[in-house]
Symmetry: C2
Subunit: 359 residues, 2 copies
């Protein structure tokens, strides 16, 4: 299934460039932003022109391709050294995005493997292009699979709530949390979606509402603080959110506000589902308390709309993420199937079977 | 105790006018808005230039004064008729503000009483001026008393969370939910406050943060969706919010998002307190399900910052209030003392003793 837009893609061969939807301008303007070098990709990731764990992974892989595409005639050691430098530069763009490191590690590992197997510098670059394109292709397949698995629990006529944007625009494919909605709609189920606007950066209002509407799905925007009232009025059948990082015990790190939604869902007996590719699980983390919470600039809260909304000099606290304890999660949708009532045992069983304990 | 600003006041004698802080321009500009006639007061109340249940009550009383101040030489019947017309006009400004009706009813009742006692038209107008000034004075006294009662449960070193603005700027005095904080600070207790920004109109960021900072109280602004994370991290000792309307069973109608805060407070074992004058109780309501929820324009959510934040044509749901069940309320602070674990029996006992079952 295809959506009427493409989040990011590699354009051309080698040399080529990356074209991405400039997400900071949504929903009023659709601008395709071209990225032609590594620092441009760091900037795009930092500015959130491209955002969402899987899309950041693909962007990072494409970033490595941008960095090595002009290299010719270097030794394997020199090519490997450049690849590592590029990866280190890209790694600084977002400190909490585990998919960023996952993709960069995978690119560097591929270069290493090629070098160990006796490839010359040019052959390593060719291999890095293969690897980057493969990461892109796999992401699209994974999204589709997440959608198929998640859609099993969506019935005709249901109304779902989501927070932030874990949609097509957070991936190179049809998304994570929104993928089950796209697949359900594609299967002919009539669904409606409530989208939390998701302060401070409004990814829900700007991006989720935009992409669902583009795809013809009924969507209603609410402010974050309306979710409890909407649930209490009986409108919501299930919550689907994405994740930036999941610990081995099933604790879920996601956009700030996700934890509040999970508590509210519990209070109202509404299943709270997390949709995430296996690459989101981090085996280094035994539980969510080990996840560092990025604090972002105060201006995102106090001047988030180009207009000062808090007094000059007022203190502002702006954590970008929170952690939802596994006990609040009814199920995690992965490409390997559902992990119901996640705990360490059930998470590790699925990851082990899939050979996918990352980190 | 005095704060370094005055929310609204009558300026001059008869004729006079109303001067109010133009709250839609906070926190970047402090502009005193002059209101000189009834329609100007309707506009100010509708636009939220003045907002908060008690301040709206005072504004309504002042609105009646503005409407009758030029009347001279009319019969008691004509004066009474004009007073009723003015009250009916003012009543349309905000459909859910019980204090609006309370103040208008009180003004009309005073005019009625004077007429029944044989007063002429001019004497009725004089009496309406007395009544309006008395409503203003009582509101200031009530705020101070709410502050004294509420401060009993605030200890030195505590951190409190509040939602929306039930502060001095919501009253003619030192506020309702914020009054205990002002009194506690005045008593020398060192307190800190987290203020939910309170979408869509950002009364928390714009108004609560402004007035607490003006008064020298440590305040940190967060987005609404951060409250759960902040509570989970152990930072909050108690929640204090105001109310627009309370049912006889203790169900509390307040700014949208209050219900979510109450559920989160319960989850974290944090006491959730409501601070409200007795005039906020409505004996016509046996429970909160009977409270009509005003829906306000979509643009408040989708274009709330002068910039479109949701796709054109996206559906938006914008309820202005929600209802928090009494079971989530640890205590209600009234000028007659605390109502702990409110239920119908305990609420009615306090109201009966105070002779204050309104409606």
């Amino acid at each position: 299934m295809e959506l009427p837009f493409q989040t990011l893609q590699w354009v051309g061969g080698r040399p080529g460039h990356v074209s991405m939807i400039e997400q900071t301008l949504l929903p009023t303007q659709r601008v395709d932003h071209e990225v032609r070098d590594v620092l441009g990709m760091v900037d795009a990731i930092y500015r959130l022109a491209v955002r969402g764990a899987p899309a950041i992974g693909v962007a990072a892989a494409f970033g490595v391709m941008l960095g090595v595409q002009e290299l010719r005639g270097l030794s394997p050691e020199e090519t490997l050294g450049r690849t590592r430098e590029i990866a280190a530069t890209l790694a600084k763009a977002r400190p909490t995005a585990v998919n960023l490191f996952w993709a960069l590690d995978r690119m560097v590992a591929r270069a290493d493997r090629e070098a160990s197997a006796g490839a010359d510098g040019d052959a390593i670059v060719v291999a890095l292009f293969e690897e980057g394109h493969e990461i892109y292709r796999e992401d699209r397949e994974t999204c589709l699979r997440l959608g198929e698995v998640g859609a099993e629990r969506i019935s005709d006529g249901q109304t779902l709530l989501t927070h932030c944007n874990a949609g097509a625009l957070a991936t190179a494919g049809i998304g994570t949390a929104l993928a089950p909605m796209y697949v359900a709609a594609h299967q002919g189920k009539r669904i409606s979606v409530f989208a939390d606007e998701t302060r401070p950066l409004l990814q829900g209002a700007r991006i989720t509402a935009w992409e669902l509407a583009q795809a013809g799905i009924d969507v209603t925007v609410i402010t974050d603080n309306m979710a409890g009232h909407v649930m209490k009025s009986g409108k919501i059948d299930a919550v689907f959110v994405g994740s930036d990082r999941i610990a081995r015990n099933g604790d879920v790190c996601n956009k700030i506000g996700t934890y509040s939604v999970a508590v509210l869902a519990k209070e109202h007996g509404i299943p709270f589902y997390v949709v995430a590719p296996l690459s989101t699980f981090d085996r280094e983390l035994t539980d969510g308390s080990q996840i560092p919470i990025e604090e972002r600039p105060e201006e995102e809260v106090a001047e988030g709309f180009g207009k000062r909304t808090a007094p000059v000099g007022a203190k502002v606290f702006n954590p970008a993420f929170d952690v939802t304890p596994a006990a609040l999660v009814a199920g995690i949708v992965t490409e390997a199937g559902w992990i119901d009532r996640p705990n360490r045992e059930r998470v590790e069983a699925v990851l082990r079977e899939a050979g996918a304990l990352t980190g």
